[in-house]
């Protein structure tokens, strides 16, 4: 039963990822992407990695896709369509993608050892919490904290790019040069 559902989900992911790339309407692409992400979360659920699944949904489906949709809402009109790519460009891209898929598939075919290395123990919530905040071996408090610096910096960067110039300066000699 689980296997059947997994295969259905995998097929869904495949179909929708192709549709994400080929759709002419950008918001629909975002929705297809959402499907792919939710299906990934579902696969994590089936694999009993429940925390990962919840994080996948919160971060990707609930966070990033919402942001993407939000920015599309602010910038795109409903009648806007993306240009169709030139045929030979599309063909080359498709070939490159297929080549990459073939290569990765060929590589993964021999790599049976993955399962043995990772083991299959659904992690407990407490262990995840401890791992995130411990500072010994296999403890991730340092990356956790550095990511906070990263997010702070990204936020300041976004503000710096968007912050308007002072009003009193803006009117006089705000030069608009495009060389």
């Amino acid at each position: 039963m689980e296997q059947i559902i997994t295969y259905i989900l995998l097929a869904l992911m495949l179909i929708f990822s192709v549709m994400t790339v080929t759709s002419g309407r950008i918001l629909r692409s975002a929705v297809y992407l959402l499907t792919v992400l939710v299906a990934t979360a579902a696969i994590y659920f089936i694999m009993q990695y429940q925390f990962l699944a919840a994080v996948q949904i919160t971060l990707y489906a609930g966070g990033i896709v919402v942001l993407i949709i939000f920015s599309i809402l602010l910038t795109h009109h409903i009648e806007h369509r993306m240009e169709n790519p030139v045929f030979w460009k599309a063909m080359i891209s498709a070939l490159a993608a297929l080549g990459a898929v073939a290569m990765i598939a060929w590589v993964l075919k021999d790599a049976q050892s993955i399962q043995n290395v990772a083991g299959f123990i659904p992690p407990k919530m407490e262990d995840i919490g401890m791992a995130l905040l411990s500072y010994g071996k296999q403890g991730y408090v340092l990356p956790f904290e550095v990511i906070s610096v990263l997010l702070l910096a990204a936020m300041i960067g976004a503000i710096a790019v968007a912050k308007p110039a002072l009003l009193q300066f803006k009117n006089k000699n705000f030069k608009q040069d495009d060389q």
């Binding site: 925390f51 949904i57 489906a61 609930g62 919402v66 949709i69 409903i78 919530m125 407490e126």
Partner: protein, 362 residues
Amino acid sequence: MVFNIYDFTGLTEWIHEGLSRSLSPGLTLVVEWALIGAGLLTLVALLGLVLIYLERKVSAVIQQRMGPMRVGPWGMTQTVADVLKLLLKEPLMTRNADKFLFNLAPFIVMTASFLALGALPFALGLHIMDLNIGILYITAITSLGVIGILLGGWASNNKFSLIGAIRSGAQIISYELSVSLAILSIVVLTGSLQISEIINTQQNGWWLFKGHIPALIAFVIFLIAGIAELNRGPFDLPEAESELTAGFHTEYSGFKFAFFFLAEFINMFILAGVGAILFLGGWLPLHFGIDNSFNHVMDFIPPIFWFFGKIFALILLMMWFKWTFPRLRIDQLLKLEWKYLLPLNLLNILLMAFIAMQGWYF
């Protein structure tokens, strides 16, 4: 006797055994899914009827009106009539609307609500999925609903819908933080995300009482932010009638409109349910002290009634808010979240962690 109103474990096991005796495991699963689905659907339909009726009556009481009175005794079948009317309406769509997304949006909203409903424990043993990460799962799934709102607003090709959707998105994303942090401050005490565990830790008292002031603050923040996340008054800017006709669902009619409307009430139910689980002990009865006659009387009331009673108490509280407070402006709304609730919440978590570390809770 298999059926026991105090403990549904026997009932569910009986169903499971009965089914697996005659069916293959895979088929058993399918039949069980169907049963659960049917149960949830019934619950949702009933809840819709009751909650809409309740809302109208409560608002009527607060505004010194009678409310619906004509259909049935005290207008009790008014909602049934409304639903029938909605089903018969023509599904309209604006020109140039994105048909696919327009039709998809209500389903996304509804699916998110349904998925979240699955994690609520209605009584001992009456729990569809008791996940390891239950409460995190609920917050994760409910955050999907906003996508439906955004899509619906955009796909309608209507400026009111679009503005409503953007407002709603901004509001939900902002207030989600506060809701999650308020939930987190109780998780600090329980030490687990599993819902059955959270309820079990409250056997000797609800967290609202055991957790001192931080729990109280968390509860208040949870209610405020939760109401805002539901887009309910006084935070109903996304559908502010006076400015945006009806916000993101302006262009929806008939059945799809009913979906949006219903999902809103179901989300209210879920929020109240989460509040009841975290702060009010879920389906546990109210106890004072150890082993006295008051506790025995309370134990006599079945857990399922306790759970629904708490939920409806919270829902009535929310309705009371809606019909008494004036609507906020958008800047006030964002200021409230980012300048007051969020810092307060972070401090509150620190305080809670300190209390938990010192073991100052009961």
